[in-house]
Symmetry: C2
Subunit: 235 residues, 2 copies
Amino acid sequence: MNPLYIQIKKRITESLVGGLWHPGHSIPSEIELAQSYNVSQGTVRKAIDELAAEKILIRRQGKGTFVASHNEEHNQLRFLRLTSSLGDKEKLDNKLITFEKEKASNGLAKILGINNASTVVSIKRVLTFNEKPLILDLIKVPAASFRGLTPEKVIEKKGSMYRMYETDFGIQMLHAKEKIRAVTASAEAAELLGVSLDSPILSVERTSFTYDNKAIEWRLGLCLTENHHYATELE
Amino acid sequence: MNPLYIQIKKRITESLVGGLWHPGHSIPSEIELAQSYNVSQGTVRKAIDELAAEKILIRRQGKGTFVASHNEEHNQLRFLRLTSSLGDKEKLDNKLITFEKEKASNGLAKILGINNASTVVSIKRVLTFNEKPLILDLIKVPAASFRGLTPEKVIEKKGSMYRMYETDFGIQMLHAKEKIRAVTASAEAAELLGVSLDSPILSVERTSFTYDNKAIEWRLGLCLTENHHYATELE
DNA sequence: GAGTGGTCTAGACCACGGC
DNA sequence: CCGTGGTCTAGACCACTCA
């Protein structure tokens, strides 16, 4: 049998997945949870500690424990690791290129955990910083999970896809895996990013996950790294 | 005043830095530490919990708590994020190109936290996988911290620089920051890696740190990513 | 002042490793 | 069997937030 605090953690996660508690709002206090689960406060505390470490919950002394939300300004770019090498502040913008529905390839279906040839929404866009194109994104999400996703919504949200997923579809991005390569610009990428053919491009392939490691989005980002770099930390 | 467990954590870290306990060996049991620090076992436990989360200590139920070591086989490549896209097992090898001592530039001195124009050891090498060149590394470390570092040592250790730092110089790599870019192959890189001029190359600039965030090594890795990718996780 | 999370303690019992 | 870390509990007190 699993340790008690792991079971409590699971039950809390289930309440989160089930939508019992909502992002940005508080969950019951440790004492209340301890009573309703019939365990000691210390056990609830340990369960919440882990969820807080995973950034799924946020503790605030004196106020309570809250469901993490990515709506706040400073969280907008939580998953955007590309930063200016000069350290200047930049104005982010979003230009939609295409918005289509299509059948998922076998590989994509496997990654997203959906049936072969299920419908996916395919979005192509260019992110600009200070009016200059920097990233060409190709994004694919299961249509079934995002009914009502329209080109207008993508444009309206100005590039904050993950924020839109949360507010409009109740789907939260919790973590992601990336594969990074150096490639040369294709004809399309060269044109959309405004560089010459065969310029070096940083290719970032990302699969994003929500609760319980359920894949929810696949995307390929092609980034210019002349004045920017991808920052990461090894531990 | 800091919480007690933070103070205990600091005292444990000091013992590690001071070399009182050695990598791979066990530290005193929680009960002994609690007695010698005059705190409860729970407080020591919380301090060790954090150090274990940072992979500085390793707990083993029934055996004790050990100082993390990177000598084990499976830890060899802890900081090598480049993996084969095909998933095959590969034979790693190491070819030393140049080994020189030089004066640190101002930028490098600042990164490494040493005086301007201090002497650094500069190493250039090529890492091969299955006999094929894959990474061109340029490594710079403060000469003062690595007295006795010779070309022979680099060759002998077959690419495990961090292992050598630990066993031969008592310096442990704990974490690192990286900046990643896509660039084109210089004439030198093209020749050493066996690709054509202007091929796309993944540039990985790394600064590595030991205890207390002290920088200890700077390196630039130029990687071929035709059949490999750099893997990372966002959380 | 009431309620929240944060720290600290003391003690009980469990699970694992090695003698 | 003993000693280790791992879990769980109960209770005390502190620090912070807000009415």
